[in-house]
C-alpha cells in the first residue's frame, strides 16, 4: 500500500477514536458542571418545581448513561439530535439546522482570513529570510509580534475605531444572515477577517523565516550559492521546498484556530459564528449542541493536521518514494 494511502487510513481511524473519546470527555465534563439546563435557562427564577417539570420535558430526569447511549446511537445514524432549547414545542430545533448557517459563517470568515493571512505570511517570511537582520526584517518582526501580543478584542476595537467610526470604510457590526449577498458578506466580515489576520500572521511568518534560515546553513545551499545562483533563486527554489513540512504544520495549526478560537472576535463584531453558539450552549448546558460543536472542532483539527502531514509527505521525495 502506498504510504500516503496508509497514512490517511491510519489517521482517519485514529481520528474516529479521538472523536469518540472527545464526546465522552465533553459529556462527562458537562455532567460534572454544577447546575443543569433548566437551572441555567430559568436563572434566578428557577424553583425546584419548575426545574423538575422542565427536566422531565427534555428527558433530563433519566440517567446520564442512557442519555449518552441514545445520543451516540443517533450520531451513528447521522442524527445530531435536537437542542434542549425549545424542546417543549411542536417545532423541534434540530442541532444540524442550528449549526449549519453558523458553521457556514465561521468557515466563510476563516477562509477569508486565511486567504489574506497565509500568502501574506509566507511572502513576508521568505522576504524576511532573504533580507534577514536588515531593517525590513526587524520591522516585519516587530510589527507582527506586536499584533499577536495584543489581545484580540483590543486589535478589534482599534480597527473598529479607525475604519468604522473615523473613516467609515467598513461596518462596525458584522451581522449577516441568509439574505446577505456574497459581496455584502465580504464587506461585513472585512474587519473581523483583518483582525484575525493580524492575530495569526506572526506565527506563520516566523516559522517560514526560521525554517528557511535553518536550511540556509546546510551544505547543498552553500553549493548552490557557490555555483553563483542568485540569493532569491536559492531561497525560493532550493530552500523553500525543503522547508514546507514545518511551515505547513504551523499553517494548519493556525487555520484550525481560525475555526475554533474566534469567539472573542465574533462577540466584538456581533458576527454569528459557531464559537458564540458553543459558549451559549455550554453556559446553558445544552448538551446536544455542545457535543456537535465539540465534534466539529475536533474533526477540524484532525483533518487539518492530516492534510499538513500529507503535504509534508508529498513535498518530501524521501517519504513519497520510500525504498
Amino acid at each position: 500500500m502506498h504510504p500516503i494511502v496508509r497514512t490517511v487510513l491510519q489517521r482517519l481511524g485514529l481520528g474516529l477514536l479521538t472523536l469518540f473519546i472527545v464526546s465522552i470527555v465533553i459529556f462527562s465534563a458537562l455532567e460534572m458542571l454544577p447546575g443543569g439546563f433548566a437551572e441555567a435557562i430559568l436563572g434566578q427564577s428557577a424553583t425546584p418545581e419548575t426545574v423538575a417539570a422542565f427536566n422531565k420535558e427534555i428527558g433530563l430526569d433519566r440517567p446520564a448513561i442512557v442519555r449518552y447511549v441514545e445520543w451516540i446511537g443517533g450520531i451513528l445514524q447521522g442524527d445530531f439530535g435536537t437542542s434542549y432549547a425549545g424542546a417543549g414545542g411542536n417545532i423541534k430545533r434540530h442541532v444540524s439546522d442550528l449549526i449549519a448557517p453558523r458553521l457556514y459563517n465561521t468557515f466563510f470568515l476563516a477562509i477569508m482570513a486565511a486567504v489574506i493571512a497565509v500568502p501574506l505570511a509566507l511572502t513576508l517570511g521568505v522576504l524576511a529570510a532573504l533580507y534577514r537582520n536588515s531593517l525590513f526584517d526587524r520591522i516585519v518582526n516587530s510589527v507582527t509580534l506586536t499584533t499577536i501580543a495584543l489581545p484580540e478584542f483590543f486589535v478589534a476595537y482599534v480597527l473598529m475605531f479607525f475604519f468604522a467610526i473615523k473613516l467609515r470604510w467598513f461596518y462596525s457590526l458584522s451581522t449577516v444572515s441568509e439574505s446577505t449577498t456574497f459581496l455584502e458578506h465580504i464587506s461585513r466580515a472585512a474587519l473581523p477577517a483583518i483582525t484575525l489576520t493580524l492575530v495569526i500572521i506572526a506565527h506563520m511568518m516566523r516559522m517560514t523565516r526560521a525554517a528557511i534560515i535553518n536550511l540556509l546553513a546546510s551544505p547543498y545551499i552553500e553549493m548552490a550559492q557557490l555555483k553563483g545562483i542568485p540569493r532569491r533563486r536559492v531561497i525560493v527554489h532550493h530552500a523553500l521546498p525543503n522547508a514546507w513540512a514545518p511551515i505547513v504544520t504551523v499553517v494548519a495549526f493556525n487555520l484550525a484556530y481560525l475555526v475554533v478560537g474566534v469567539v472573542v472576535v465574533e462577540v466584538v463584531f456581533v458576527y454569528p459564528g459557531i464559537g458564540q453558539m458553543m459558549v451559549d450552549a455550554v453556559s446553558s448546558r445544552d448538551m446536544p449542541v455542545v457535543q456537535a460543536c465539540a465534534l466539529i472542532f475536533a474533526a477540524t483539527y484532525i483533518l487539518l493536521n492530516l492534510s499538513a502531514d500529507i503535504i509534508s509527505i508529498i513535498t518530501n521525495p524521501r517519504l513519497l518514494h520510500p525504498r
Binding site: 437551572e39 424553583t47 462596525s172 457590526l173
Partner: protein
C-alpha cells in the same frame, strides 16, 4: 415673578423633551402661570417634539440574548425576550403606564368582585391575532393555564399561585377566581411572560411562531442574533405603532453596542457603559435617557444562620455600609442609595422608612455591642453574575465596615451557575431584583414567609398577616397604612440590605422622538416599539 415663571417653563420644556415631565405636570405649571389650556397644550406638544408620525425602520441594540433563547414564554428571563413580548409581537391583558398604574390593553376593562377575589376581564372587541383569528376568552384561559398548570416550568408560575381558577364566560369575558382577594391582581397580567397566544385544540397554546396580537408581526428570528418584525396593520390600538419595521439586534459587548450607535447602525442602545458615557454624550446626534427604575442591588442575609439570626447584627451591618459611596463608585452616580426598603420611590404606597440607614460606624458598633459582640467576622459571597460591579462593591463594603469593627471576608464566587450554588445557599451574598410594580407583588415574591424566592428566609408573623390583609383591602387609605407598616418592619427587622436602586441609562439617536417614559423597566418599560417614532 414673570421672569421666574419663564425660567420654570423653559426648564419644564426641557424636561418634557427628555421625557421627564408628564403632560399633566407641565399643564399644571403652565396654567398656574396664567397660560390658557390650549396654549399650554401646544407648548407641551412642541416641547415633546411634535405629533408622532409613521414610518421608518427602528433598529435597537440590546445587551441581552443567547443562542439558546426560544419563543417559549415559560422560559423567558432576559431583556431581549422581554422586549419581544412586551413591545414587539406580544399583547398582554394590561399595560403599565408612565405613572406605574395599570391600564387596560388587550382587555378592554377589568373589574373586581367579592372583595377583589374575583376579577372580570372583558376583551377588546375585534382584536385579532397576527394570522387574522379573533382573540377569544378561551385563548386567554389556555394561555394562563399554560403557565400555572401542574407541569408548568414557567418563570411566572409562583406569581400565578394566587389564581384558583380561570374560566371563559362567553367569547369576550374571562373570569379569574383567586384563592384570596388581591386588589393588585391586574398588575400581574401585564407581566412579559403573559402575552396571549392561540389555544390549541385539546389544550395548550401555540407559541412556536410568536403569533400573538401585538403591534408587530414577527418575521425572521435568530436566537441570540436578531429579530425582525413588521407593523401589524390590524393592531387593536388605533394609530399605533408608528414604525414600519423593527430590527432587534443582540449585541452583548457594550463597546460594540456603543460603536453601532455612534456609526448609526442602531438607533437605540441599552445599558450604556457608564465609564465612557461622557464620551458618548459628546456625540451631537445622541441623547441619553436616565431613569430610576424598580431594579435594585441587594445583599440578602439568611436570618436563620448565625450571626444573622440576631437582629442587632443585621442592623449593625446595615449601618456599616456606605451606600452613597457605592452609588458614586459602582454606579458612577447613576443610581439612588437604598434604605433597606425594596419598594422603589415611584411605586404606589412607597415610603422612606425612618431612621434612614446610612453610613454610621458608631451606630453599627452600638448595635454590635447590643448583640454582645466587640468585633464581627463574616463571609460574604459575591460575583459579577449578581450584577456588574458586585465584586468591587463587595470590596468597598469590606473597607467601609472596618471602621465599625466588622471584618467582611469577601469571597469571589464563579459567575457560572451563581444563582444555583450561591444565591439562597450561602448565608450572605450579593443579588439583584428587577423589581415589581406593586408592593404586594414584590413582598409576595421575596419577603413573604415561605415564598420560593424569599432569599433572606425571613418570616415575620405581623408582616405576613399584613400582607394578606392588604392584598384584599380595597380602601386606599387603609392599604397605604398597611404597606407603610410593612415597609417599616422590613426596614427595621428584615434580612435584606438594599444597597441601591440602579438607573436605566440608555442612549438613542436624536432622530427618535418620544413622550413620557415608563420607569418600571428599560426600553420605556418595553413599550418603546409602540410609543416612539422618528421625528
Amino acid at each position: 415673578m414673570m421672569r421666574d415663571f419663564d425660567n420654570k417653563i423653559r426648564l419644564a420644556s426641557k424636561l418634557v423633551a427628555q421625557g421627564r415631565v408628564s403632560r399633566r405636570d407641565f399643564m399644571q405649571l403652565a396654567l398656574a402661570g396664567g397660560l390658557t389650556v390650549a396654549a399650554a397644550n401646544t407648548m407641551f406638544v412642541r416641547a415633546a417634539r411634535a405629533e408622532p408620525k409613521k414610518g421608518g425602520t427602528f433598529k435597537i441594540g440590546i445587551g441581552h440574548g443567547a443562542t439558546t433563547d426560544t419563543l417559549d414564554p415559560a422560559t423567558w428571563t432576559n431583556g431581549f425576550q422581554f422586549c419581544m413580548s412586551i413591545g414587539v409581537f406580544g399583547a398582554q391583558l394590561t399595560h403599565i403606564d408612565q405613572k406605574t398604574a395599570v391600564q387596560p390593553h388587550l382587555a378592554e376593562s377589568f373589574e373586581p368582585a367579592d372583595g377583589a377575589a374575583k376579577w372580570v376581564f372583558k376583551l377588546r372587541k375585534g382584536a385579532t391575532f397576527h394570522n387574522g383569528k379573533d382573540v377569544t376568552a378561551d385563548d386567554v384561559v389556555e394561555t394562563y393555564n399554560y403557565h400555572r398548570g401542574e407541569n408548568s416550568k414557567s418563570a411566572v408560575k409562583s406569581a400565578l399561585d394566587i389564581v384558583g381558577d380561570v374560566k371563559a364566560d362567553g367569547k369576550e369575558t374571562v373570569i379569574f377566581t383567586l384563592k384570596s382577594g388581591s386588589a393588585d391582581f391586574p398588575y400581574i397580567t401585564s407581566d412579559y411572560h403573559l402575552p396571549i397566544y392561540q389555544a390549541k385544540d385539546g389544550g395548550g397554546i401555540e407559541w412556536e411562531k410568536g403569533i400573538s396580537a401585538g403591534p408587530f408581526v414577527l418575521g425572521d428570528y435568530q436566537p441570540g442574533v436578531k429579530a425582525t418584525a413588521k407593523r401589524n396593520p390590524n393592531y387593536f390600538v388605533e394609530g399605533k405603532p408608528y414604525f414600519d419595521d423593527v430590527e432587534m439586534l443582540s449585541i452583548i459587548d457594550v463597546t460594540a453596542r456603543t460603536n453601532a450607535l455612534n456609526t448609526g447602525e442602531i438607533h437605540y442602545m441599552d445599558r450604556v457603559d457608564l465609564k465612557t458615557i461622557d464620551l458618548l454624550k459628546q456625540n451631537p446626534g445622541v441623547d441619553i435617557t436616565n431613569l430610576t427604575g424598580f431594579g435594585h442591588y441587594v445583599a440578602p442575609m439568611d436570618v436563620r444562620a448565625a450571626p444573622f439570626d440576631n437582629v442587632d447584627v443585621r442592623t449593625a451591618l446595615k449601618y456599616a455600609i456606605n451606600r452613597k459611596e457605592l452609588v458614586d463608585k459602582v454606579l458612577l452616580g447613576y443610581g439612588t442609595p437604598g434604605n433597606d426598603n425594596p419598594i422603589a420611590p415611584s411605586i404606589k404606597y412607597a415610603i422612606n422608612p425612618e431612621p434612614v440607614h446610612q453610613y454610621d460606624p458608631e451606630k453599627a458598633k452600638f448595635h454590635l455591642k447590643k448583640a454582645g459582640l466587640e468585633t464581627l467576622k463574616v463571609d460574604f459571597s459575591t460575583s459579577d453574575a449578581a450584577f456588574s460591579g458586585a465584586v468591587d462593591a463587595g470590596l468597598l463594603m469590606q473597607a467601609q465596615a472596618k471602621a465599625a469593627g466588622i471584618d467582611i471576608n469577601v469571597i469571589r464566587e464563579p459567575d457560572d451557575s451563581y444563582w444555583d450554588n450561591v444565591w439562597m445557599k450561602k448565608p450572605w451574598c450579593m443579588s439583584y431584583w428587577g423589581g415589581r410594580p406593586t408592593c404586594d407583588w414584590m413582598f409576595t415574591t421575596a419577603y413573604a414567609g415561605g415564598a420560593a424566592w424569599n432569599d433572606t428566609f425571613w418570616n415575620n408573623a405581623r408582616f405576613n398577616e399584613l400582607l394578606s390583609a392588604a392584598r384584599a383591602e380595597t380602601d386606599d387609605a387603609k392599604r397605604a397604612a398597611m404597606y407603610a407598616e410593612m415597609q417599616q418592619i422590613l426596614h427595621d427587622d428584615g434580612g435584606i440590605i438594599v444597597l441601591m436602586f440602579n438607573n436605566y441609562v440608555s442612549g438613542h439617536s436624536k432622530q427618535l422622538a418620544h413622550g413620557d417614559l415608563n420607569s418600571n423597566f428599560d426600553y420605556d418599560g418595553g413599550y418603546i416599539f409602540e410609543r416612539w417614532w422618528f421625528a
